[in-house]
Symmetry: C2
Subunit: 221 residues, 2 copies
């Protein structure tokens, strides 16, 4: 497969962080195009970027080696599914449909019901449009993380003390580790989630995750 991959992201974007992990786990080379979420009123709102991605969010993966013409994929999980289909080895998902469903269920709980509520544009709306004070905004942030990680911790029981691919991390950990990063950044108490903390520690020791970390990115400040 002749692919040339470019990732439009931002060092602290949790969803871009997921894709960096997935690309690294698959050993795929990619070029980075930083899109600054705050500078210039948010570069993701500028015409040049919205032309590429009308959703106006990060990340965006561009595959200029796609046979049918340049392919632009928005949405981190749509990108993960694409990478899994086009570059199947090493796999990010288990082979068994039931196990795949459990992995996607937990990953999507993070990607659908935790992260979007704490996305920058939502926090900005709370502050600017609804006049929510910083303290209440931080409580909102922690509320959704606490609810979400509690459910994920419970769901992880099905994996015993293993990673989602046995001895290897994949799709699930690519979503979980960036969420843990965000939780720590906002001083959430994670002591009730020993399974999550164990997984995060094991992943953070791996090169694929260390190289995907926000602070390791070229646009980190």
């Amino acid at each position: 497969m002749n692919s040339e991959l470019t990732l439009y992201g931002y060092w602290r974007s949790s969803a871009a962080y997921r894709v960096r992990i997935a690309l690294n786990l698959k050993g795929l080379a990619y070029r980075q195009e930083p899109v600054h979420l705050v500078k210039d009123g948010g570069q993701q709102h500028q015409a040049a970027y919205r032309e590429l991605n009308p959703q106006g969010l990060l990340p965006l993966l561009v595959d200029s080696g796609n046979a049918g013409g340049e392919l632009r994929i928005a949405q981190s999980l749509a990108i993960l599914e694409y990478l899994e289909e086009v570059f199947p080895v090493p796999a990010l998902l288990p082979a068994d449909p039931a196990q795949r469903a459990l992995v996607r269920s937990l990953a999507m709980h993070i990607a659908c019901d935790v992260h979007p509520l704490n996305n920058l544009r939502v926090l900005q709306y709370l502050k600017t449009e609804l006049g929510v004070a910083d303290e209440a905004k931080d409580a909102w942030y922690r509320h959704w993380i606490t609810l979400g990680l509690g459910a994920v911790e419970k769901g992880l029981e099905a994996f015993g003390s293993k990673l989602s691919l046995g001895s290897r991390p994949g799709y699930l950990e690519a979503c979980l580790v960036p969420q843990v990063y965000n939780a720590r950044r906002f001083d959430c108490d994670l002591s009730s989630y020993p399974r999550i903390l164990d997984i995060a520690a094991r992943c953070d020791a791996l090169e694929a995750f260390r190289n995907a970390a926000p602070e390791a990115q070229p646009d980190a400040q």
Copy 2:
């Protein structure tokens, strides 16, 4: 495949509506277990349901015919992916990975960046914890729908005047039609989205969609 499917849902739950459409498109029989989102303080919060689904959200699909033991899948898109893998015909997704990526990108924009912000628990938090007035809450609701549907309308250009599977609807329409239903329920102006309106009208004429509609469910009020 010896499957016995039970869907825990609620007639007006947009995410449960997606799964009903998918099950109907695949011609799969299923039993419904209504979980009332308001009665009894929200039956999704009760211990009996949380034991089945620690995420405490709808829908939940239980497959009691799964070879490895009863399988419980939370998250509507994880359910759609499972159904696609276990009951591949008729397909909900195109065969080509690039086309699949475009479908998932639009569907996930709805499922990740529009719907979760307008979920009942979020509206309740805005009102109860943040003291947001009804008018501002409705503006919030319409704001995220307007942003999201605008991006989807633009993304639909890639499909020309076709449905996501050419002459047939699938994964994309299963996410789009329930979102249009919600938008109408909250009096959003949809006149700027002719492609979306066309798709919704074509889908609403099909039995699989009509039988999945909120008002057609046994627990509709």
